[in-house]
């Protein structure tokens, strides 16, 4: 093995991204729990984590930029750094989505508790599972596992569509519950976006490992 310093820097880049990923996963999990429990403290914790996640994004970007400029990486190393740059953006945006969920839960706390026709905890569980699997694929450099994330995205999208219809009907039929329905609608949308970002991460893992760009392809292209 040569280029020891470069290899150490690549390891450091991966490690930092995983630290950031841990923070984002925790924020998603806390936001989801906050919805179920309407816990104000959890909401605050999620919102407080956002600046730290943003700082991590800048640090990782800088390290990636330094490596591109100083080491002129090639082939799998170049693809790895490009994947990290993309994943970094997706993680930061997932952090934003978690913060948005927390803000909506704080709104819901101020409203009367009503029975909403949408299973947000299940949607959250599915989105979180996508994130976990995409990150595990990144940790292990496993393109097969990354591909399985792409399949899950359809389920999340479908649940979001169902939530849209059900909550739309609720707003039509019980206008007095429209504020709660709108908050739930936004939360479902936030979770669906988190699923999209997990899909992006999975696509980046496939690009890194296989050198294949599967973005904007249908599932049948990716799973021939």
């Amino acid at each position: 093995m040569i280029r020891i310093k470069f290899q150490q820097s690549l390891d450091e880049l991966k490690e930092r991204l995983l630290v950031m990923a841990g923070m984002v996963e925790q924020a998603i999990q806390r936001a989801s729990e906050a919805y179920s429990t309407r816990d104000e403290n959890l909401c605050d914790l999620v919102r407080q984590s956002e600046p730290a996640i943003n700082r991590m994004e800048l640090e990782i970007d800088q390290l990636a930029l330094d490596l591109l400029a100083m080491e002129q990486p090639m082939a799998i190393d170049l693809r790895f750094i490009l994947a990290v740059i993309h994943i970094n953006v997706d993680l930061e945006r997932m952090g934003d989505q978690a913060a948005s969920i927390a803000a909506r839960v704080l709104d819901l706390r101020k409203m009367a508790n009503v029975d909403l026709p949408v299973d947000i905890p299940r949607l959250a569980l599915l989105a979180a599972a996508m994130v976990r699997k995409a990150l595990q694929a990144f940790i292990e450099g496993d393109a097969e596992m990354a591909q399985s994330v792409l399949l899950l995205d359809d389920q999340v999208d479908e649940m979001n569509r169902e939530a849209f219809h059900a909550l739309g009907n609720l707003i039509k039929n019980k206008p007095e519950q429209a504020p709660q329905a709108l908050s739930a609608l936004i939360i479902a949308r936030n979770l669906e976006r988190i699923g999209d970002h997990a899909t992006n991460i999975a696509e980046d893992v496939i690009f890194w490992v296989r050198g294949a760009d599967v973005r904007h392809h249908t599932l049948s292209d990716v799973h021939p």
Binding site: I2, R3, F6, Q72, M74, A75, L78, R79, G211
Partner: protein, 252 residues
Amino acid sequence: MGVDIRVENLNAWYGPVHTLHDVNLHIPANHATALIGPSGCGKSTFVRCLNRMHETNPAARAEGKVLMGELDIYKDATPVEIRRRVGMVFQRPNPFPTMSIYDNVASGLKLNGFRKKRVLDEVVERSLRQAALWDEVKDDLKKKSGASISGGQQQRLCIARALAVDPEVLLMDEPASALDPVSTAKIEDLIFKLKSQYTIVIVTHNMQQAARVAENTGFFLMGKLVEFAATTKIFTNPSDKRTEDYITGRFG
């Protein structure tokens, strides 16, 4: 205009040492093609087979077919004819030190029997302009010797000298490795301009340089052509693990 080069089952030896093994390759006309690989991998031997310079070493020999356009260079032409059609630039600039700049550029033509001053003047100016050196030396053409200008200028002078005999192919064996970054950039700009008129083959250890100047890149290892593909493919997603290990610095 450049011609394409087709290499079929090319083998080369230095004495008993088999240095090139069954190389098959198509180098397209009017493109720059880079050859990379660790020291001793055979890439310089390969380009020296393209102008029959390899066989100038008495212990060396080559077998196989090299077609320049329609011309089979080992069958249908003499080494002298080949070298008029194939110019070569080496790692260290090698102008004739006692000749003026003018005479350096005109030397190939004079060797080929051209004597008319008007023709020589025209060719010298055209070649120096093509090599992006004219503006820097036009006032000292006959006053300064080839060795009195800077290293970067000397290398462009050698390129002008190669171009003066109107070749179809330009071989460059690490043409910028002894030059500073500004002179290197000038040589690379020159390659970019010249490839519309010539077929350029460049051997380089500088992979960024290969990535910058060449449309196609070949990777040599232990006398074998391991992989030949579009440069973007080689440097982002090579097919062969050995290519990837080399370009990512994992060996070599």
